[in-house]
């Protein structure tokens, strides 16, 4: 099948698309989940998952914690500070890379200022 739900004349789970360069989450930006994206807990797999029309991303605990803090209010720096209150070791660069990847795939929107 075409990967993708509505992938063309055959409606199946969607194609993999190369990421388009989108706004990057810099320390002062305030990321939030895009409107078409849902963060939920999957009791079957006992993991948090990020759902879009065509994709399911199974998250680890840290990933879920980061996205849970993406409320459009907190800055990336604020999210890192919050995580440091919960976890022993938090690498700011890793958080930024994670959010960059999700911004590129338009799962996360990045507001500035």
């Amino acid at each position: 099948m075409p990967a993708g739900s509505g992938a063309g004349n055959v409606c199946r789970p969607g194609p993999v698309t190369p990421p388009s360069p989108a706004s990057r989450p810099w320390p002062a930006s305030r990321p939030r989940l895009a409107p078409h994206v849902r963060l939920t807990f999957d009791r079957t797999r006992e993991r948090h998952v990020l759902l879009t029309p065509e994709t399911v991303t199974v998250l680890n605990g840290t990933g879920a914690a980061i996205l849970g803090l993406c409320d459009g209010e907190r800055t990336v720096a604020g999210i890192v500070a919050e995580l440091r209150g919960r976890y022993d070791r938090v690498d700011e660069e890793e958080v930024r890379l994670f959010l960059t990847r999700l911004a590129d795939s338009r799962c996360v929107e990045v507001g500035h200022g």
């Binding site: 509505g6 992938a7 063309g8 004349n9 055959v10 388009s20 409107p35 797999r45």
Partner: protein, 366 residues
């Protein structure tokens, strides 16, 4: 064993459109004994227990099911992400409001071209203006909007205007998918298969549009596998990530697998869990043990899974062979021949429309 992420619910094969590239099966009349509302709700609950997280509601035209909002509401209650794939005919303000209240997450609307004359001719019915009105309604209600456009010889040259239409409607995503040749599209292949120069131009337009619209609109472009070197990764692996439930309750690893010579598995006789885990149809091409050469020793066997089983069956009569689209397939000449014919015919005939298109009919209850 992997658990499925997505369930494609083909609620009905009835459809107000008659698109000649429809991938629904040719024997539409065999699917008129549709699952009841209660049966669908059971399927969704069993699917969720099995691990399904995304529900794609499709068909045919899912809006022709009067119980659509009830099905969406139940799915939403189960925590499924719900995606409606529709022609938009029948998406009135009242109906849209009901679906919004029921918790529908996302809407994908098909358009056939960038303007009414060609779009209506391809759809076989006046529909273009109603689709635009429905797309505007979707945006007004705050839903994310995806436009689905199936590409072929008759509309590939319009791709720039199609992207312009998507932009003017404020679409969040557009799926530009070259036709895959199953069902009615298979019957119409000779009239649909594009020329190489059309594809080259279209790809350049898509590249430029991706740069221009980055961050505003996601553009998904599904390549035509007949022109590729390698096949598409069939369903991300047979019986690995997704399942399809046909209108009559047949469960399939792929929406085009109706005609494969495999035993049927129906939700009217078995649970979704049993079908996924134990049925012959789901076991047959799972993993890589079933593969023959050249797939068996190929580095890409876990990347493209031997390509499409339905296409292998359609082109060679043996569903276990390498997808002939692959340039390594011993049957690749079949695909190369079809591509050559599409390009040669274009040069000699220069017909504006090429061979006649057979419209997909309505299913008739037996």
């Amino acid at each position: 064993m992997d658990r499925p992420f997505a369930l494609l619910a083909e609620l009905t094969y009835r459809c107000p459109l008659h698109c000649p590239y429809c991938s629904n099966p040719l024997n539409l009349d065999g699917y008129t004994d549709e699952l009841t509302t209660g049966e669908w709700l059971r399927v969704l609950a069993e699917g969720r227990d099995l691990g399904v997280l995304q529900l794609h509601l499709s068909g045919g035209e899912p809006l022709l099911r009067r119980d659509l909002a009830e099905i969406v509401s139940a799915a939403s209650g189960l925590g499924l992400y719900t995606n409606l794939i529709t022609s938009a005919l029948g998406l009135s303000a009242r109906r849209a409001g009901q679906l919004r209240d029921a918790g529908l997450d996302h809407v994908q609307i098909s358009v056939q071209a960038d303007e009414a004359v060609l779009s209506d001719r391809l759809a076989g019915t006046p529909s273009f203006e109603r689709k635009l009105a429905a797309a505007r309604l979707v945006k007004k209600l705050g839903w994310p909007l995806t436009l689905n456009v199936v590409l072929h010889r008759h509309n590939l040259d319009r791709i720039e205007a199609i992207l312009g239409l998507a932009e003017s409607l404020g679409a969040d995503r557009i799926e530009l998918a070259n036709t895959q040749y199953y069902g009615w599209a298979w019957r119409n292949r000779g009239a649909l298969l594009p020329r190489r120069d059309q594809l080259d131009r279209a790809e350049a337009v898509v590249r430029a549009a991706r740069d221009r619209l980055a961050g505003r609109m996601e553009i998904i472009y599904v390549l035509p596998d007949y022109y590729g070197r390698y096949p598409k990764p069939c369903m991300g692996g047979w019986g690995r990530r997704a399942l399809t439930v046909a209108p009559n309750g047949d469960v399939l690893p792929c929406p085009t697998a109706h005609d494969l010579p495999l035993p049927r598995a129906s939700v009217r006789e078995h649970s979704v869990d049993w079908i996924w885990t134990s049925s012959a149809v789901f076991q047959r091409f799972r993993g890589t043990d079933w593969m023959a050469e050249p797939c068996r020793s190929c580095d890409r066997r876990e990347t493209d899974f031997g390509g499409c089983r339905c296409q292998a069956f359609q082109l060679t009569g043996d569903a276990a062979r390498t997808d002939p689209v692959c340039h390594l397939s011993p049957d690749h000449a079949i695909v190369a021949g079809a591509v050559r014919a599409a390009n040669e015919a274009a040069e000699t005939e220069r017909l504006p429309q090429g061979p006649a298109l057979v419209p997909r009919p309505q299913p008739r209850p037996g």
